[in-house]
Structures are given as structure tokens and as C-alpha cells.
């Protein structure tokens, strides 16, 4: 048994290069490029010559990896599924906000 005190944690705003995104998501280069081309994965606003990616891109890429492995999806189906999942996430965030804004019944 080992005790590891993990002091450094990566937070949501960490930026990744395309290479790191590939490595961390385990997706093949060609597929990442295809997902980029159709907008399923978006780089952060252009900050220089090299594209940088945020946590949202990594999340999408990892989801894509899982869906591809578990459902044997082709690129078209993957893009569709990722788009729908993004909408679900948006709607859930809205729902959370509305629920937070909703006063609770008086006890």
C-alpha cells in the first residue's frame, strides 16, 4: 500500500496542445482531426499559431473515445451523439439554474 499526496491537480482551465489532447483522450489523430473539422471539438479562441484546447475539448474527446469503443460508432454517428450529449448537458445546466432560482416551499 502506498500513500500518495497528490499536491498538483489540474483544473478546468488548463490548456492542452493537440498532441496532449490526443494522448489524454486515446483517440487516433485522424479521428480528432475529423471531429475538429466538423466542429464537434473546438479549440480555445485562437491565441497563437498552435491550436490550444480546454477542459471541454478533453471532456468531449474522452466521451468520444468511450462511445466509439462501447458502441462501435462511425464518425457520423459519433458527431451526432456528441452533439446531442452537449445539448443534454446545456439543458441540464439550465435546469439546475432554474431549480436553484426556484424558492423552496416554506416548511
Amino acid at each position: 500500500m502506498r500513500i500518495d499526496a497528490s499536491e498538483v491537480l489540474w483544473f478546468e482551465q488548463h490548456e492542452l496542445s493537440l498532441r496532449e489532447l490526443e494522448e489524454l483522450s486515446g483517440l487516433p489523430h485522424r479521428l480528432i482531426v475529423e471531429l475538429l473539422e466538423c466542429g464537434a471539438i473546438a479549440p480555445l479562441a485562437a491565441a497563437g499559431t498552435e491550436a490550444r484546447f480546454g477542459a471541454a475539448a478533453l471532456r468531449t474527446a474522452r466521451t468520444a473515445g468511450r462511445l466509439r469503443a462501447d458502441f462501435e460508432l462511425n464518425v457520423e454517428a459519433l458527431v451526432l451523439a456528441l452533439g446531442l450529449l452537449e445539448r443534454v448537458a446545456d439543458l441540464e445546466a439550465q435546469l439546475r439554474e432554474l431549480r436553484a432560482r426556484q424558492p423552496q416551499p416554506i416548511r
Binding site: S6, E7, V8, Q13, D70, R96, A100, P103
Partner: protein, 316 residues
């Protein structure tokens, strides 16, 4: 090693056809895949289904699995004596292993792809759900994690090794955020990078606050006279009590915003806290109070439903 009944996991008989295995998997994956399902325990359930499918869909792995014989699920068992040789398996110590480890490492390319080969493999990534309180999100916290990971020991034998982590969750976390602990996942093989550990953060429900992103919402009940006359109240916030001035004539439903009193954001800045005004009435009143209400009712010209008359075209 504990036996797992992969056929039962997929709801199948042992003689099921490849087609039946595939169909059963699709049906169950649709229901339990953690990216799609909101069912409680979906993640665990899907792991079980995926593990069963990974083994049964591959004819070689399925044959190897069938050779293990049929045992009751959860029963301790040992693979038959010649099993390992027959299926080109890497050495392992069966007591410490999970059945899935056997099959995950079984087929790095049949006989010739034994683990002594040069193939570099990245370590496994782990994702773990972590629920924290709003106070913990506000101040940051430390959590203990206990993970069993399959690993090769110095002699190249595969076994499960418990890993205990203390992980710091810095302030700034909120619902749906993820933290990554680089290199804290499974060990990479032959120079492959170590896997990562991802913590998926969620906030536990709180009796006072409700979170939306880094903003917090809090109900602020006022007595009718407080709402009319205005008042000053002590408001609990995760950072400590603050005094809030409620202006005269405050309506129910109004949101009083306290800037930078919500959850801290990861880099800098802080969400806001909103006090949602509710007007509440006492359920028990004394005779003296009742008399005051009666007097107020007689003296007041206030008509809270004046707009009914306007909107319905002077129907009454």
C-alpha cells in the same frame, strides 16, 4: 479469484449465439451507458456489462472463459491447471486478481503477444465520482481515495495492488467539474505513459444553499411587516454571516444580490450569492395580533388584485 457469470450479466444462456450476445449488449448498453443513462448505479452496471461483452464477443476469449467451467457468481475458484499455458497467458497470482484482469491481458495478440514483448501500452485511466459539500467547495478539501489497480510486480506477475490517495480538491470546484490527477491511474507498460485519475465533482444538496455554477441561491423569508417597512437581516453565507439591508417595499420573489459571496472560482473571482425573498405569515397568531391585522385590513386601501379587473376588461 472470484468467479463472475458473464452470461448472466448479459441475461443470456451459456449457449448463446454471437448474434444474441451482441443484441443483449446493445440493449443493455443503451440502458446503462454512463454517458447516456441517468439511472442510479448505471456506471457500475455498465462496467459489468462491458466486461462481460469484451470477453464473450471475442471467440478466443469466450473459449478461454468457458474453459474456466461454471461456478456460482462470487464463488472463489482457480483456473484449471493447464489453463494459462493453453491461452498464452501472462503469469499472475490468482488470489489478488479480478477476473477481468485475466481477460484484459489475455489477448495482446494471441500466443506471440505475451507481455514480454515490446508493445508499449498507456496505463488505464480511472474516473471517479466525488460528492462534496458546498462548504468543502468553498474552502477546498482533501479526500481519501482507495483504488485497486491491476499491476505487474517485479517478477512480471499480474496482480491487484491497492492504491490509497490523498487528493486535494482546491477551492473553486463546483457541480460537473473535473479534476485530473496526472499519472495517478494505472501503470503504463513498456514505456507507455501512466494513466490518469479523473475526479468528477458533484455538490451534495445543502439545507440552505442551492448552487448554479459558482452562484449560490438562498431563500430569505421575511415577515409581511419586514417586507413593507424594510429591515436589516443577518444572512448566512459560506464565508460567514453578512448583514443585508432589505429595502422598504420589498416584494416576494425579488432577488437581492450579494456580489462575490458565492463559491470561489478556480483562478480568481467569486460567484455571487442571491437571497430570494419570500414573504411568510405566522401560522399561529395571538388575539392581540389578530386585532392589529383587522385594523390594518380596515384602514388599508391596498388592492393586491387590482390588475385582475384591468386584465379582464372590467368584468366585475
Amino acid at each position: 479469484m472470484k468467479y463472475k457469470d458473464y452470461y448472466a450479466s448479459l441475461g443470456l444462456e451459456r449457449g448463446a449465439s454471437e448474434e444474441q450476445i451482441k443484441k443483449a449488449y446493445r440493449r443493455l448498453a443503451r440502458k446503462y451507458h454512463p454517458d447516456v443513462s441517468k439511472e442510479a448505479g448505471a456506471e457500475e452496471k455498465f462496467k459489468e456489462i462491458a466486461e462481460a461483452y469484451q470477453t464473450l464477443k471475442d471467440p478466443e476469449k469466450r473459449a478461454a472463459y468457458d474453459q474456466l467451467g461454471s461456478h456460482a457468481a462470487g464463488q472463489e475458484f482457480q483456473p484449471p491447471p493447464n489453463w494459462r499455458e493453453q491461452f498464452g497467458e501472462t503469469p499472475f497470482s490468482a488470489e489478488d486478481l479480478d477476473l477481468s484482469d485475466l481477460f484484459a491481458h489475455l489477448h495482446a495478440g494471441g500466443g506471440q503477444g505475451r507481455r514480454g514483448g515490446r508493445m508499449s501500452m498507456p496505463g488505464h485511466d480511472y474516473e471517479i465520482a466525488v460528492a462534496i459539500t458546498i462548504e468543502e467547495a468553498f474552502h477546498g478539501t482533501q479526500i481519501d481515495l482507495d483504488l485497486n489497480m491491476p499491476e505487474y510486480d517485479a517478477e512480471g506477475r499480474l496482480r491487484r495492488v491497492p492504491h490509497v490517495f490523498k487528493a486535494r480538491i482546491p477551492k473553486g470546484a463546483t457541480d460537473g467539474q473535473r479534476l485530473r490527477l496526472p499519472g495517478k491511474g494505472g501503470k503504463g507498460l513498456n514505456g507507455g505513459r501512466d494513466g490518469d485519475l479523473y475526479l468528477n465533482i458533484s455538490l451534495r444538496p445543502h439545507p440552505l444553499y442551492r448552487a448554479s455554477g459558482h452562484d449560490l441561491y438562498l431563500d430569505l423569508p421575511l415577515a409581511p411587516w419586514e417586507a413593507v417597512l424594510g429591515t436589516s437581516v443577518e444572512l448566512p453565507t459560506p464565508g460567514g454571516t453578512v448583514r443585508l439591508k432589505v429595502p422598504p417595499g420589498t416584494q416576494a420573489g425579488r432577488q437581492l444580490r450579494l456580489p462575490n459571496r458565492g463559491l470561489p472560482k478556480p483562478k480568481e473571482g467569486q460567484g455571487d450569492l442571491y437571497a430570494l425573498v419570500q414573504i411568510v405569515v405566522p401560522s399561529v397568531v395571538s388575539e392581540a395580533e389578530r386585532e392589529l391585522y383587522r385594523k390594518l385590513s380596515g384602514d388599508s386601501a391596498f388592492d393586491p388584485r387590482a390588475h385582475f379587473t384591468v386584465e379582464t376588461g372590467h368584468a366585475n
